[in-house]
């Protein structure tokens, strides 16, 4: 195969060609009725307007990020503690398992109206929704990780007369790290869904509010700006956790099944 032919068939070239064709087609057909799908140059103009001229993008995103980070941190700490507790202590497992499974299976948005009654529609609501969205996948994956620690590793630890806490810190936690990272990655994705759900349905603030507001006024070009930013942010979030995972657990084979 010649060099040119190889370039044309390379992943990068195919992806780039695909994106160029789609953007060009969107630009042409989007102009027919801008309300329906707008078009890329209008969206770019809207991005400049919102981001720099009117300066609404950054404050909205900062609001979203604040709720997201606080909620996710709480969910991660609580979720990992509960997950390990359930994985290592039989009684905790038996007591909590039915409720964790039931709440894990419930779409969290169904709880939003109830949460509004309990915590209002402010920062507390956003954080609560984020925590409830992220904590159950974190608990369940941590639990599976704690449960799946190789018996032989544990026996080796015991043979060296490790006590409970030594066993936990030197065997159980490192052995379940790959599961912990899976837990955090799924948790982060869910946390993002949670904050947007809260912001679009009840709290009406941050990035979610922009989406609602531009949708309501049929400003499709502006509507695409927060939507695209959100999608890209979600991809970056997952990549950051993959990166950390490769750094912290280089021995584990990470199947990239996004």
């Amino acid at each position: 195969m010649s060099r040119i032919a190889r370039f044309v068939r390379s992943p990068g070239a195919l992806r780039a060609a695909s994106v160029i064709v789609v953007v060009a087609a969107w630009e042409i057909f989007g102009r027919l009725d801008p309300i329906i799908a707008s078009y890329p140059s209008a969206i770019a103009a809207a991005f400049v307007e919102l981001g720099f001229t009117e300066d609404v993008l950054l404050p909205a995103f900062a609001t979203t990020l604040h709720g997201l980070v606080v909620g996710f941190a709480i969910a991660a700490v609580l979720g990992i503690v509960i997950g390990f507790g359930m994985g290592r202590i039989r009684l905790a497992d038996l007591i909590l398992d039915p409720y964790v499974s039931a709440l894990y299976a419930t779409p969290r948005i169904a709880l939003v109206p109830l949460l509004v009654l309990w915590v209002g529609i402010d920062f507390e609501l956003r954080v609560t929704v984020v925590v409830l969205s992220a904590i159950f996948p974190i608990i369940i994956n941590t639990y599976i990780g704690a449960k799946s620690v190789d018996r032989e590793l544990l026996d080796t630890g015991r043979a060296f007369a490790a006590n409970g806490s030594q066993l936990l810190t030197t065997v159980v936690v490192p052995a379940s790290l790959p599961y912990l990272f899976a837990a955090l990655r799924i948790g982060a994705a869910r946390a993002l869904v949670g904050i947007i759900v809260a912001e679009m349905t009840a709290a009406v603030t941050g990035t979610g509010r922009l989406i609602i507001q531009y949708g309501r006024f049929f400003e499709t070009d502006r509507l695409f700006v927060p939507v695209i930013i959100l999608g890209l942010f979600s991809i970056v979030l997952a990549e950051v956790i993959y990166f950390l995972q490769r750094r912290v657990t280089p021995w584990a084979r990470v199947e990239r099944i996004r």
Partner: protein, 277 residues
């Protein structure tokens, strides 16, 4: 299914014997916990306003009222489940087809994966305003949202499964002179089945979220609509009924899929306890 799964249970290793490992022990703990929880809830709720929190006894009354007396629960349930099945069914069929093609043909994968990755990562609720512009506030909106919520996990997991098929199996198929069609049906799809099911399970939960989100935010109908109506009137005891119904639907469907999974591939236990997305 992000990591090489280890065996989860070692029944052949020394079984730790103890009360908590017996059937009686398990159920004793579960029942005691449940009774204590309900009693504490009842006690606590009797002290706060009925608009904020409903005691279990009031929730039971509401269940009787909505399920047996005026039967409005069943209509709402039928509406939600109908939309769920149609949208989810479409998502599975289309998702498996696209995932299969992307997994078999590199060129198609590279052409489509920028969009698939982006839409998979995007919380589907963010698409609602756009879908309202396209479909209006009608049934199609709900189907579109359910479909979009479910299709990407299926595509991505199917593709991963197809690419992950043991190359020796493929070689055996080639040696037997299998056509592309035979290869897909007899080798690739069965081998990719565990991944496809992982995708289907994620898709189911996302699709259910899609139905409820659409019903709560855009078209006020079904179980989601019930939640909104009761919440607006502070009928908290009633509010718990659709929430519990959604829980039951979700747990039932997940259990059914796991059963089907075990039936269809008794040889595989790798992906039964993990989640793909």
């Amino acid at each position: 299914m992000t990591t090489a799964p280890a065996a989860l249970h070692h029944p052949h290793h020394r079984a730790r014997r103890g009360f908590l490992y017996t059937r009686t022990g398990v159920w004793t703990v579960r029942i005691v916990t449940f009774v204590v929880l309900i009693a504490a809830w009842e006690l606590y709720a009797s002290g706060v306003s009925r608009a904020l929190f409903a005691p279990p006894s009031a929730i039971v009354e509401s269940i009787v009222e909505l399920a047996i007396v005026d039967r409005s629960l069943w209509g709402a349930l039928a509406i939600s489940i109908g939309a769920l099945f149609v949208g989810f069914g479409l998502a599975v069929v289309v998702g498996v087809a696209i995932g299969l093609i992307m997994g078999r043909f590199r060129a198609v994968e590279y052409v489509l994966d920028p969009y698939v990755s982006f839409l998979y990562a995007l919380p589907s609720i963010a698409l609602i305003p756009l879908l309202v512009i396209w479909f209006g506030i009608d049934t199609e909106l709900r189907l579109a949202l359910v479909f979009l919520a479910g299709v990407f996990p299926v595509i991505i997991n199917t593709m991963a499964g197809v690419k992950n098929v043991d190359s020796e199996l493929i070689d055996v198929g080639r040696v037997a002179c299998a056509s592309e069609r035979q290869m897909v049906i007899t080798v690739v799809l069965p081998a990719a089945l565990p991944f496809i099911f992982a995708g289907v399970r994620v898709a189911l939960s996302q699709a259910l979220v899609g139905v409820i989100v659409a019903e709560m935010t855009a078209i006020i109908t079904g179980l989601g609509g019930m939640i909104i109506r009761f919440a607006n009137f502070f009928q908290t005891a009633n509010l718990f009924v659709p929430i519990l119904a959604i829980m039951v639907v979700s747990i039932t469907l997940t259990t059914l899929i796991r059963r089907l999974e075990r039936r269809l591939m008794p040889w595989d236990h790798r992906h039964t306890d993990e989640e793909a997305a």
